[in-house]
Subunit: 457 residues, 3 copies
Amino acid sequence: MTDASTNMRLKLPVICFILEIILIILFGALVEYNYETDAKAWHNKTHSDYDNDFYYRYPSFQDVHVMIFIGFGFLMTFLQRYGFSSVGFNFLIAAFALQWATLMQGFFHGMHHGKIHIGVESMINADFCTGSVLISFGAVLGKTSPVQLLVMAMFEVTLFAVNEFILLTILGVKDAGGSMTIHTFGAYFGLMVTRVLYRPNLDKSSSKNSSVYHSDLFAMIGTIYLWMFWPSFNSAITAHGDDQHRTAMNTYYSLAACTLATYGMSALTAHDGKLDMVHIQNAALAGGVAAGTAGEMMLTPFGSMIVGFLAGVISVLGFKYLSPKLEEKLKIQDTCGVHNLHGMPGVLGAIVGAVTAAVATMDIYGEGMADVFPDVAKGRTASAQGGYQALGLAVTLGIALLGGLIVGFILKLPVFGTPPDTICFEDSIYWEVPGEEEAHEAQMTVMTPEETEKMNV
Amino acid sequence: MTDASTNMRLKLPVICFILEIILIILFGALVEYNYETDAKAWHNKTHSDYDNDFYYRYPSFQDVHVMIFIGFGFLMTFLQRYGFSSVGFNFLIAAFALQWATLMQGFFHGMHHGKIHIGVESMINADFCTGSVLISFGAVLGKTSPVQLLVMAMFEVTLFAVNEFILLTILGVKDAGGSMTIHTFGAYFGLMVTRVLYRPNLDKSSSKNSSVYHSDLFAMIGTIYLWMFWPSFNSAITAHGDDQHRTAMNTYYSLAACTLATYGMSALTAHDGKLDMVHIQNAALAGGVAAGTAGEMMLTPFGSMIVGFLAGVISVLGFKYLSPKLEEKLKIQDTCGVHNLHGMPGVLGAIVGAVTAAVATMDIYGEGMADVFPDVAKGRTASAQGGYQALGLAVTLGIALLGGLIVGFILKLPVFGTPPDTICFEDSIYWEVPGEEEAHEAQMTVMTPEETEKMNV
Amino acid sequence: MTDASTNMRLKLPVICFILEIILIILFGALVEYNYETDAKAWHNKTHSDYDNDFYYRYPSFQDVHVMIFIGFGFLMTFLQRYGFSSVGFNFLIAAFALQWATLMQGFFHGMHHGKIHIGVESMINADFCTGSVLISFGAVLGKTSPVQLLVMAMFEVTLFAVNEFILLTILGVKDAGGSMTIHTFGAYFGLMVTRVLYRPNLDKSSSKNSSVYHSDLFAMIGTIYLWMFWPSFNSAITAHGDDQHRTAMNTYYSLAACTLATYGMSALTAHDGKLDMVHIQNAALAGGVAAGTAGEMMLTPFGSMIVGFLAGVISVLGFKYLSPKLEEKLKIQDTCGVHNLHGMPGVLGAIVGAVTAAVATMDIYGEGMADVFPDVAKGRTASAQGGYQALGLAVTLGIALLGGLIVGFILKLPVFGTPPDTICFEDSIYWEVPGEEEAHEAQMTVMTPEETEKMNV
């Protein structure tokens, strides 16, 4: 387990230090406070301190932040011997990706005299981009070294920013909660990477590619946090006022309907009617993904519930019937089933968004049209908007698949310390793991007489 | 364990799908955005987007949401083999109840031209109603099938809305944090249900009706979240300004005092002075329950601390001396001891509220009287308000007990897949449970030489 | 284990009840609502209810609250058999300390006609002071009784308030996130206490002074919450507007850079390149500590990242090389390594704050100078401000070390039920601990035929 190729003693410090030093230099050269975080600029204008956007975005930011670090991190702790890596590598690549995303998105979102201006909104956007990387991480979970993951994050953040720029800026697509930019992109990118990294002998690690009782409970911490805060995620960067309020509410109802669909489908597809933790942990979240594009539109709670219900049904069916096929026929080893949680529900969300956009009318949106569909308010027809939304999905799929293909081959270079097929899904290859047995020993020594007696029976 | 009666293969999907389809249809027919979530209505008025109530309620909503899904869900994971069900059924019935509560409360809170208007405040109210159902869930924990729980939730939400309507609208009772409407109602409803569902042979499952080391730690996640966010819970729907601020602060001090009382009482009532996790997990929260009615009043931190202290004392005494009696004499099998955490402290909170209302004067409240006691500001005497508060408690107890009685008998119908007495408190009856032993096996295979050596000693 | 000296049956109730009764009496005599929480006072002025500071401080308060109760509490659950005490004593002493801190800080922050006025800002300050006590708790973790901890908290809160008064009020030092007042003070106070309480035979408990797999995962819950909400911590009581916004953002980047440094250093300093959970759980947070003073200044994200990076490097080196030396040579048994997470990074943060203050100019701060450096805006030179900042660090170290010395000797009095050297780091001395073995037994009885078969192989 300590053989040379997977030893991180030099590889990991070198990449961490080089990346961080590059980040620091680029931040020094390019990044400035925006006018809401700069002491001088803020006080140059006349306004109440309470008007600072901090008070209207920061609570959403913190909810998103919890989803990224607790939500994604703990969701992946379901594996019995990969908890340290799930939370720990999630932590590492997220901490890197959010810095790198600040630069990449700042570059594409528009520089100010050669400088990137940052504040709470750029922090949310950086966390969003990070989320996309963590989705891809789910596809390759257990089969990659931390160095591979940092390299993947570097490329994926860059491509994310390109794709986001094309959709939001060039095509004028709306995608506040990122059904396309975050979920579809992250899922198909990750699926392509894991396809390229296909391991024919992965079954040698199969005994560890499963959960134990308490690892499933840790994973539920992740699930529940993602579920609770998804309304904040989808509404975090929508326009202020009714938009943010409506988006949160639509997502809330979409998730609730999705949860009932998930429980029903999980029992229905089990031969003995027993619920499967994999479905509950994942498919119940598909309603949040599927409301990512249309959530800010006048989807209505009614529409949101239908979308959420469908997402839950599709997601459970995917876990049950499609994932085994993808592995067997297409050699896609998708550890967390991101295709079922982010891939298909993301595509569903994009389609729902396109349709909802295509039927938008002034009668429904009134003066609010300018917030939801600025291009429609300026003259683009609603059906054209719907068309651009659909085009956005196609572009996302194209960039994700092509990008994943190229990055997959880069990650195959035999210098990144990837684990052998026989020791995948295993923390002890990269972590000092404490011996579980010591616990029992320790217990014995402190047992009360009654307890000892009970043991002897 | 897979015998026909408890098999959920058809029962659970049928009820999930039917309920969700009914919900979707009713939402389609009856529910509309309110003016703060509707694009057209919001933009018809002149105001800043920052005036949207989203910004003044949503952070409280999210704290309440965490209490409902993480707080209640994990609090109940203390059972050694019922963690999946505790978190998972909590998740399922909460997702259903919040949708159903939107309709029931919308119906009673006043329709607009035959439509229910919703926004963040209705989301908070729906979560509150859900909390009441989860309290009842605590009483029957481990002894009910998910189908029974959904049926119970359907009836309980309905009765909750009726009781709430009588108290808040007809009687003009104040109960912002729900000492009566949520805690007293949920507790006594659940206690009556569990009384009707009395299982004489439950001791056959007694080996599983207890905790293990890590299950107690998971439960503490629930406890601490409930404790931390209770100030947000009690203040989530009070009037804006001083009211919300004061309620949160009163609750904060009530909980702090309650915690010291709980630790003191737990050590005092143990024969060897050792702290009991059951008390810490539950009784330390009683201060939040007891501040649920008077928290928004001018109770003062001093008064809040006295109330919290008393609640902690009562709650520990209840766990220690009353619960065994209730089970033995009255045949009430109260798994989580909701009588001690929600029942008695809820009644205490109602009484404190009545007394505090009865002594309210303009000298203390000034112009703020209209926010705290609108009826008193309009002419009702303070002592009359106190009387109505007391009447509210009586009504709540009556509806809860009678409702619980009827619903208990409904749940006895032999079609809901309830577990046999011998396999209560056991996940594997409704869940695919991973084998714990595999973990140890897996560990062996990946053990380092030193570890193996250590084992052989 | 149930010998008389450590029996808490009388000791713990007596101290809990006496302390709480004193608190209640003092609150009754001294504490009043401030004008934002008082019904009459608030309604005497003309303003919008939305102007209540509740809306601009409470979300930060709740994040801080989570750090205090979940963050600190779970961070310390890494010990295999001390999880109940870690979370539970953290809970107890925090609940006491926040009440006592309200009085002590209220006394020093200025009385109003003999009364202490409280609201959300005093709640945040009370939580901050509590944080300092919990840092000291980390140094003595596993080696102290709950009675000792309450006594320590009582004295430490008092000294904290004195030190804070000298720094903020007398010297005009800026320290919004408490690099000095919270972290440096708490760490060196705790280190001195643990030095005085030196246990020469602690190695007899060494088998329990370590983690197991799942205890490390519980600890990661604490770590991640502290990491995520540190931006809220540092910005919770800064001036509104750009200050709060900037502080949160600086802290965010400081932490991200610190995390990469921590992972790099952890692999680099391990002989086999494996990451050490102790480093990840602790050192990755040092960036938050080190940004505690300068975070509100115009440090820039660039500067914040350099500070965070250095803090991470120093902290890992401290865990690896300094802590063993401190124990061996100076007899400082620092259970959680608070010197590495709070001590050295706190001093670094103080120095960075002094330097950043010394180079402040009107050209950079503009009219914002009055918020960040009120004394400089009123005429003090920037370099004088830097000097006062440095003086603040010296005062803090002096009071912490001297205070810790005295309180350490008080805690040595043989009446507080301290555990013997042989049973440190062990819950069962103060808690009813469920038998782990019952779980396995229980499992056997509910095993499916396939599972039993598997076992027999």
